[in-house]
């Protein structure tokens, strides 16, 4: 199992270092306000990890991951909103017991699709199932008809636009442009308290690393190789007896499921959900989180989400103008000069070190100064080969 998850020592060390950084160092040195922000960025990490599988491995670029982030987020937000709208706290409304925005829009009854979200188990199920199923159906319909590459990107982008405009336009049902706000408690537990924020941060982290491990497993077993094979030689895979459409649709669904979990965790940690988080612009930004981190590296994707968002917060406070130039420049630079992103840069750095280490161990071996096991370990590091080169990393 361990060998399946981590191909070599480098991957294992990167994974461990990330856990130590996010689960130990940051919580110790950061005030809760900052840590909560990191937690928010990490919810985008879910989307980026999914994109590594979908785009990096399988060569399918979705510009509509915000849709699934939003579906998961709205499911959670609807539950929290209903909890916040009990008849007592909404007694001043003309119809008590329904969310405030419905009351403002002269709704007198809870719409039918809201009713099941009174149940927490249903909500948890919906957070996972809704994005997954929607993605599978869309993916299957398109991949079955051999839609891929830029066509898939455009259609998913259009879906992101449709969903964000649709939510925006139906204020009474969805809260419209403002989104669903004032979310305070989860099953009576105040999610805005300091202790709750700590707990949610760690829950978020555990779920995220769960997703990281799932995608590492998928990448390193046969299905991962099949996905890369589909990316590089679709026809051959089909004539090896694989159902390419289903393989892709399942990958799309897994990526969507991750995004949905991320959306739900976003709502829990930030306390609201709105269409501005799921439209065209946020969806394509999610792709850049993945590209900056390295489209082939799941750990890279997590860092990509943190770094880009950190940059966004820092710069857009100081000088929003500069941020847009920087963001635009990042898109261009990553694509043209660093197609493997930060993970690629790190690999280069470490493989250089590894080569040096290899020489060093060779030298000391001759002097007979190191024990055999040490030398062996050094050898392992130096033979660390980079991930397969993305010859056609962008599909058709």
């Amino acid at each position: 199992m361990f060998k399946t998850l981590f191909k070599n020592r480098g991957e294992w060390i990167a994974f461990l270092a990330t856990i130590i950084l996010l689960a130990v160092i940051l919580p110790l040195v950061m005030p809760i306000f900052r840590l909560n922000l990191i937690g928010k960025y990490l919810t985008y990490g879910f989307v980026a990890v999914g994109l590594v599988l979908l785009w990096g491995r399988c060569g399918v670029l979705s510009l509509g991951q915000g849709v699934f982030f939003g579906l998961g987020g709205y499911c959670m937000a609807m539950f929290l909103k209903l909890e916040a709208s009990d008849p007592e706290s909404t007694a001043i409304q003309s119809t008590p017991g329904i969310p405030d925005f419905m009351d403002w829009n002269q709704l007198t009854e809870l719409p039918a699709f809201w009713v099941p979200f009174k149940s927490f188990p249903f909500t948890v199920l919906a957070v996972i199932a809704v994005p997954t199923l929607v993605a599978f159906v869309i993916g299957w319909a398109l991949f079955q008809r051999r839609v891929g590459g830029v066509y898939f990107a455009i259609i998913t982008q259009a879906i992101a636009l449709i969903l964000s405009l649709g939510i925006d336009g139906n204020q009474g049902w969805t809260g419209g442009r403002n989104g669903i706000t004032d979310l305070r408690t989860l099953l009576g537990w105040d999610i805005r308290s300091e202790s709750a924020q700590y707990i949610l941060y760690f829950v978020n982290l555990i779920l995220l690393f769960g997703c990281v491990l799932v995608s590492k497993y998928v990448t390193n077993t046969r299905i991962g190789r099949v996905l890369v094979a589909i990316r590089d030689r679709e026809d051959r895979v089909r004539f090896s007896g694989y159902n390419v459409a289903v393989m892709r649709a399942v990958t799309f669904a897994i990526a969507a499921m991750f995004a949905g979990i991320g959306g739900a965790m976003f709502v829990l940690q930030v306390g609201f959900m709105s269409p501005s988080l799921i439209g065209i612009v946020p969806s394509i930004e999610m792709v850049i989180f993945c590209a900056v981190g390295g489209r082939l590296s799941v750990i890279g994707a997590v860092f990509g989400a943190i770094i880009v968002n950190l940059g966004k917060t820092t710069f857009s406070e100081a000088s929003p103008e500069l941020w847009l130039y920087l963001m635009g420049g990042t898109f261009i630079a990553v694509v043209m000069f660093f197609p493997k992103g930060l993970a690629g840069l790190m690999e280069k750095l470490f493989s250089l070190k590894a080569v040096k280490a290899g020489f060093a161990s060779l030298g000391s071996k001759m002097k007979g100064l190191v024990s055999k096991s040490d030398a062996k370990a050094e050898e392992e590091t130096s033979s660390t080969t980079p991930l397969e080169t993305p010859t056609t990393n962008s599909g058709k």
Binding site: R145, V147, V150, A153, G166, A291, M327, I332, M336, N393
Partner: protein
């Protein structure tokens, strides 16, 4: 709500004409894209910003005329259209040279890189022209409308823009099918290696095609100024619609783009009257996406994609 037969007729005609202005802009956007995407397979996410550049060019000319030669007011617009084309085409050629040509074999990466470019261009417009939307001083002859009946008014600017769109479309078709360059372009699209082997400078062909596509977006921007005011993100608001026009029409078919631009614009415009706010647009886009799921090759599939 109840509408009488008369009302409905008037609504359809009026919204139909409003739709025609939208049609003209979408068609011009779509034509440029069809040239770049349909023929060269490049996704230019900054296409909307080339359109905005055209619109800003017209605005700039208008301001210049106002302050330097007010008497030239009635005529500047025609020249501004030409400048809008040139400006966008020049920028397009520059972008092709600096960026696109390195990415021809990586279409998805082109998409991301041009998105980055669009962010940079938007911010540049914001820095130069401000975040507020601007409107050029349109010449008098473009204003007003003629009344066909008591309930039906037809705006002149709509008719002008339609004429412009038709003229550009005919121009592009003539250019593609009746000039030596058009022949070279079509040859390059069909077989790049072979075209290079028979002595066509494919690099030059690519650059020119990209530049012309962007130039047409510039004209779209000029047309746009007659129906709306221009802001830094005006272009990006049309980009998804424009891509859907091309994909829905069938990527390699210029004729398909015309038909689908018309259908999409009319549907949006008429539905907007009956549905609230943006829901007309949502309904139209939703319909298109569903159709594309079942018929991904679009309305008029070309032979280029059959492979």
């Amino acid at each position: 709500m109840e509408y009488s037969w008369e009302d409905l007729r008037a609504i359809f005609v009026m919204q139909g004409f409003a739709g025609i202005s939208l049609f003209s802009v979408l068609l011009l956007m779509g034509l440029g894209l069809a040239l770049i995407f349909g023929q060269m397979g490049v996704i230019n996410m900054a296409h909307g910003e080339f359109m905005a550049l055209g619109a800003y060019t017209v605005y700039f000319c208008s301001e210049l005329t106002q302050s330097l030669a007010p008497s030239f007011g009635p005529y500047y617009f025609v020249i501004a259209i030409g400048l809008a084309f040139l400006g966008s085409a020049l920028l397009g050629a520059l972008v092709e040279w600096a960026m696109i040509r390195h990415l021809y074999h990586r279409p998805l990466d082109t998409l991301l890189a041009t998105w980055g470019l669009s962010l940079i261009l938007q911010q540049t417009y914001r820095s130069i022209f401000g975040a507020r939307e601007v409107t050029p001083e349109l010449p008098g002859w473009l204003m007003g409308s003629f009344s066909v009946s008591d309930t039906i008014d037809i705006p002149i600017n709509g008719v002008f823009v339609l004429g412009l769109a038709i003229a550009v479309t005919c121009g592009v078709l003539l250019f593609m099918f009746r000039t030596p360059f058009g022949l070279r372009l079509r040859a390059t699209v069909q077989n790049r290696k072979m075209s290079g082997a028979v002595g066509i400078n494919t690099e030059k062909v690519d650059r020119l095609a990209f530049a012309i596509g962007c130039g047409i977006a510039g004209i779209a921007g000029a047309a746009f100024t007659t129906i709306g005011s221009t802001g830094p993100d005006s272009g990006s608001r049309y980009i998804v619609d424009a891509f859907l026009v091309v994909v829905f029409g069938g990527a390699a078919s210029l004729f398909g783009s015309v038909v689908s631009a018309f259908g999409i614009a009319q549907a949006q415009s008429i539905l907007e009257f009956f549905l609230e706010g943006t829901m007309g647009k949502v309904a139209t886009l939703f319909f298109i996406v569903v159709v594309l799921m079942f018929r991904p090759q679009g309305l008029f599939p070309g032979k280029v994609r059959s492979n």
